[in-house]
Amino acid sequence: MRAYLDHAATTPLAPEALAAMRPWLEVEHGNPSSQHAAGRAARAAVEDAREQVAAALGVTPLEVLFTGGGTEADNTALKGIAWAARDAGRGAHLVTTAIEHHAVLDSARWLALRQAFDVTEVPVEPDGIVDPGRLLAAVRDDTVVVSVMAANNEIGTVQPLDVIGPALAQRGVVLHTDAVQAFGRVPLDLDGWGVGALSLSAHKFNGPKGVGALMLRRDLPCEGLLHGGGQERGLRSGTLNATGIVGCGAAAQLTAATAAVQVPRLRALRDRLLEGLLAVGDVAVNGSRRLRLPHNAHVAIHDCDADGLLLALDAAGVAVSTGSACQSGAAQPSHVMTAIGAPLEGVAHLRFTCGRTTTTAEVDHAVAACTDAIKRLRDGGSALPW
């Protein structure tokens, strides 16, 4: 029995996405920028996908730019918007939060370190939610972009964009949101919240890896990172990855079309999982239970060694995540755990995330394997000698 409960890391490719991609791997090969028939066919497929993503987000197709993934979308938004705004003399200050994905956080820090921008990282409350008052207080007259993730990738906390967005819009400040984890799992009201830019990653919603999308409002000035053929409104040069983009479009459409069924199903699976984990004892939920992605269970297992637990679960066929890994592959305490003030010593923090393919049997297997492994590790005193 295996249980893949790491859908926040990546998801299996949906059969619908694979079916859409197949001709673009096996038969078609045109460059979407070419003028001839082969090129036009590829261009049509890319535009179909653009419409699918736009429809899923509730924006117009020209506001969707395809990228090489969520990280590239985040980098383009942060750096591109900041550069363009500074060139226009609007200022050089960015606001973000302490729990952003490193694609946002390190982009902002790089702008501060190498490009003389000023960056404010707003802390979050112990429940993993940013306080809108604190965030808005950090915004200044020279603030050119505020980046707040729609939902956190580790602890799954959903951020109050419904409050933050309109307040920023009123002050004329651009809001970027990393919606890589949130898309398809919580409603995104881009117009209502006044979102200026938004990042997506196809493989987080059962699309292929290596494709992402940046939703960028047409009136929002932005510089590109890659220069060359001038594709994607001149903001993202490089031959379009038609195969991946087609898969991204199909997966976006599938996700949007099935959200009404999937979200309650994921929530029920997650609740069952969480109930089983909490029953082990000395296990606590990290982050708000209420303002949380429906598929995410992130727990602090006290008196338990994280590396040992991950190994034991892996051996039992259970795939979960302990947060970030360094270059060599070692698990490290994550900045999100630090930001919410979670205890680190002798505590295993584990993320379980369900997805389209998750079954009740998988959840039950994971709970049984966890219960067994935690008990053994606690009896072995493994948390102590480190």
Binding site: L311, D314, C326, Q327, S328, W386
Partner: protein, 376 residues
Amino acid sequence: MSGGVDSSAAAALLVDAGHDVTGVHLKMAAAPSGLPGTGRGEAGAERSRGAGTGKGCCTLDDARDARRVADVLGIPFYVWDLAQPFQERVVDDFVAEYAAGRTPNPCIRCNERVKYTALLARARAVGFDALATGHHVRLDQAAAGRYRMRRAADPGKDQTYVLYMASQDQLAHTLWPAGEHPKPELRAYAAERGLGTASKPDSHDICFIPSGDLGTFLRPRLGAREGTFVGPDGRVLGDHDGAYRYTVGQRRGLGLAGFEQPLYVTAVDGETVHVGHREDLEAPALIADGVTWVAGDPPKAAALGAQVRYRGRPLPAELSDLGGGRVRVAFTAERPVGVAPGQAVVLYDGDECLGGATITSASAARKPAPPVTRCS
């Protein structure tokens, strides 16, 4: 799995013997990654210079090499971050020992305080029967099930010296398959198994000082510690640029020329480095503490072989118990030259490693004279 050929071959030997093997690479220092202040990969300046050079035992290259070996063997593989305990229990101790004028052996401390305690405990808690490493030691069981540590099949690679502290309980959960084979045989086997580490050069340096430059490592931590060389008659012979650069028994690199006989370091006392002749270094006996015995009890025979450095050889000696974990080792035939406090004295009966202790002092044939103070 360090990413070297010994642990690679050890893993392969166990897989081929039908064991259920899981590979673990120990990350002993923070590697730089990301941007400053991101909380990822800070500190470890010395290590970062080593990263990518393939030297030492904990670089990114080594982690990758180990991972690829695990891939070939088809076993699970993990990197466990031990940077903090390694820093606290091995590196800090190493620096403190030098600060106190001793010559530490960090490999012994690592085995004692990290690998065969924390790592073994975790492995057992997770449900593994044994911890295997690539160390060159032969492990067998004598009568009544007692575990014995014996010199490696490849005597030139023997590592009993750095594992003398192993207990019966630890040995009951230890495997050292590499110790049963001469190194060339291990390399050939690794090559035959298609392991990328088969022809990787042996590492010789201290893993957390991949440059091999002890002075550069210690100076920012201990200050320059400049001082004087004092000769056997108490006369100041010259200045030196840092006491920790000198180890008892050292002859090269003293920069003292024009003497009839070659001069050796006989003692390091604060900033003063005592030098003398070879016979001044001969130690008829030494005192050591923290003694441990592989069998659990002291050996019955008093006549043993005593080895005072990693690449040394055992010399005939008699052991006497001073109580409180302290022992006196008296050399009955040949005397060791240059016994450095901080190093281990490891005791052997033939090719069996019986145990050992940390040298606290050597009784020199001649005491180093106090420096002559000049009146002004």
